[in-house]
Subunit: 300 residues, 4 copies
């Protein structure tokens, strides 16, 4: 399929490569969230201002036993006014949400009328429009994107709450809880939606292949330039290619034909082939899968 | 010194306890930054859209060797459009800044005219006012606080940039660099300022002790209630204490005297003593110091 | 051209309609900025804390004369710590920037390889890619979008600075100036870029017309349903239309032909015509132009 | 009472001056909200994508009549994707909230144990602490501050939603409504709380006067310098004053006595008097009251 930069076709990629990029980021932000959650799972028991004064000599022992019963870590010192772990947790929640939303942004664009390489799973009554009955709207994607955007300010809220006065500040603690729980709810919804989306995603391979040809072969311009450079040097290759690109754009000529008109060089079939451009990408996909398998094993 | 909640005196703490809380958070966010930096120190070499197509069969080997030469980790897959590590890095930079600014917020308030327990180091021309020559302004504190606030939006910027289209999106990458480098600059400045601030911080122990008596002993109300509860039960202790607190507030009576008027119970000297309320706090301070020493050793 | 909702074709619009929507919002946010600027052009002269104490009995008269000389309005009272006008100014600057960026978002998508209805003006060396020579990137659009996004946090910064203590707070005033001046610089750049973009925008009317047919006429489904409803009632019209839409989508049949197969009703040519769907839109365009002309006249 | 800059005493102000500054900003942001609300009270009726195509030739007339029945203004053109009025409305809501929160920030600090110039109205069970029975917490202030902070990101949300694609974008419209309605709810709560706060605010005039003397008269240093400058020139006045300030700070001497030791100049009683420093401030207060009265009349 077409790889896209700034919504322009760049070089070919495979759909598997795109999925591996999604997976890589989702997997990493998910581990990041697990780590942040573990680091934030730490007992808060400090009494009024953290000193455990009300428990006198028993304070530390009571704290130790309570942590044990709740299976929470014990902090070195009370953290009433040290909100860094909560800020990190919020950052991790929102990062995983953003990783899901990146996937949704891609799918929504690949569903657009002019592209149509993907479609959300059909479901009775979902994604249709009351006034425009022909539409299949990216409603799942939209809900995921809104979920991510609606809590993107939350890490900033808690980072702001870190600037609080003394042992307990004014005007920070209620909204921290509201903001963090809202972020977790949005994440929970987005995870379910993403599972639905991926479980029934319709992939139009034929359309992917056809879109790849939309530029009359110019999507292979980079590959051609590399090939020519080996033979006639980079400067000359660049000149030839610009002329070829101009012809293809202006006359709608085929890339191979245009090259023949401009230069005597023959391009072997494989030079512009999809496989020759995907060697490294394929290796990267495998590495992602290995890492994900390893991480799941580690957690199993 | 007085522990403060919502700017009200709560229970006694020590200045060492306050410093240990600062240190705990600064130390942890500093480790968090080191970790985020390490995780973000990963090679980006993917060509136009990440597939390394231009290097054909050599792509992965070239990438491996370059990573080696630059002492950077090798990614599983290209991350042109996967900005999660940069978002985490920004979060860590801003969290450390916020930890420094929390300290500055506390110092600035402790420098206020009515409190005056601390003073920034004096320096020729610094912190004086052109129109109000008597003032010693918290200028270092203010600069640290401004540094933190001025980049608090940066994690949100990069979390937002995670929602970009396909292999490279539109309108995200330049501002990510600008925002992140601005955050690092502000951190760098704030670290230097905090060192200056702490190196010359003037501590007025006498004033700390005097401020502790501002409420006529009511700062020990919690300790007194605990003590009374052991003897007369929690319900009765609460009733007695409310009456005592009312007398102290309204007549300016001493806490001990007021208690004698209300109840026959004698409070042993130690009951309201500073030490009896600081047992656990002292243990916590030691734990913080151990952890910090351990971390520094680990890095040494 | 195709009107688009959630990147799906909805109903037909004209390019003029799209431009009028841009113009309407740009014109209104521009007036909003002019108003905010005027309301913020107000003298700040209050001495140390706003009371003009140093000028004793002459304070108000000095302030009046200075305002006159600087052609600034006189405030009722000093506003050292009342930053609402600055917050409103920042909001207005960023709103105009966002109005320009909305235009750029639309143009960038209309430049995408699959759509290609618009192109940024060609300029030597601009928008080409070093590795992908065939591309015409939306570089002007991208710069406008980045400009808008990079200062979107600024109103929040100043709204935050409104929560400052007493006659002058701590840690707000330097970053207010930095943030506001950054926003103005970004606006200045974006205005110039938008002028460049619009002055040389290449419009491919043929492609707009062809894209309108991409759905086999289904973009006229709403118009057809309205027409059918007049004749056979809304319920039956909806049933017929769903069947027609299914046939068009699955068999690639023409909308008119599919209707003939499903129903005996004839659609008059005009029913699905572009003009019949643009009556109101055309009237709206004219109103926008009148308002803009009026506003420019009023300022002339 | 003491005027404060960066939490340091600066020059004297009156409590009336502080209230007038609050009132000035609250009154202005309230008018700003009324204006933004009026400008946002505009009919949205455009059908699927704003063109009113479904109503064919009747579109504009239907729209005109509906606007009349709903007492809403008619837009020049549909604004499905032009969210500037909503952004301005959000900005105005949050600005009024911030103006209320500025008041709450001041009151909370003036309630702090070391200052105690103000107290929130007492109410059974409100503001007391379960573990620290002596406290009178600034609970109303805190709720107002939290309300303001919890929606400070809302204008940014809607400014961000302005960058949406075409006639309706993806992933912006639900959260706009949620965010805006949340801001309005928080404002509504904060207005009620502020009324409660002001209705029962306890003002300790004696404490205000005593706090004014905390610096041994140095709060009048500016006034003294002005007075001296008239007699011995600004350079010499500055030198004298520094010496005086040093003596007062170090020895706790009275300002007048210290001046006598340093210089032969006699300060007339009125020179350092409160009234001589409040001439302009008093005039400003009256202007604020006039403007507010005028605005209320205009709305009556």
């Amino acid at each position: 399929m077409a790889g896209r930069s700034k919504l322009q076709h760049g070089v070919p990629i495979s759909f598997g490569y795109k999925i591996a990029v999604w997976l890589d980021q989702i997997s990493r932000t998910r581990l990041g969230l697990a780590r942040a959650l573990e680091e934030a799972s730490i007992l808060q028991l400090g009494g009024a201002l953290g000193t455990l004064a009300a428990l006198r000599a028993d304070g530390m022992e009571v704290r130790r036993r309570l942590a044990l019963r709740l299976s929470l870590a014990e902090p070195d010192i009370s953290w009433h006014a040290s909100r860094d772990r909560m800020a990190a947790l919020a950052g991790a929640v929102v990062a995983l949400l953003a990783a899901l939303a990146k996937l949704a942004v891609d799918v929504a664009h690949l569903m657009s009328t002019e592209v149509e390489e993907l479609r959300e799973p059909a479901a009775a009554g979902r994604g249709s429009s009351s006034t425009m009955p022909q539409k299949r709207n990216p409603v799942i994607c939209e809900a995921i994107i809104e979920a991510a955007r609606s809590v993107q300010h939350v890490p900033g809220v808690i980072l702001g709450a870190m600037l609080q006065e003394h042992e307990r500040g004014i005007g920070h603690c209620y909204r921290e809880r509201v903001a963090l729980s809202e972020a977790v709810q949005q994440l929970s919804g987005a995870v379910t939606l993403t599972e639905d989306l991926l479980a029934g995603l319709e992939v139009d391979e034929g359309r992917m292949a056809r879109n790849l040809t939309l530029t009359g072969g110019l999507i292979h311009a980079e590959a051609m330039m590399i090939h020519l450079s080996d033979r006639i040097g980079r400067i000359e290759a660049h000149r030839v290619l610009h002329e070829v690109a101009r012809r293809v754009s202006e006359t709608g000529a085929d890339l191979g034909a245009a090259l023949q008109e401009v230069s005597a060089i023959e391009l072997p079939e494989r030079a512009l082939g999809f496989e020759s451009q995907m060697d490294a990408a394929q290796a990267m996909i495998e590495r992602v899968l290995e890492t994900v398998a390893l991480n799941q094993h580690g957690r199993g």
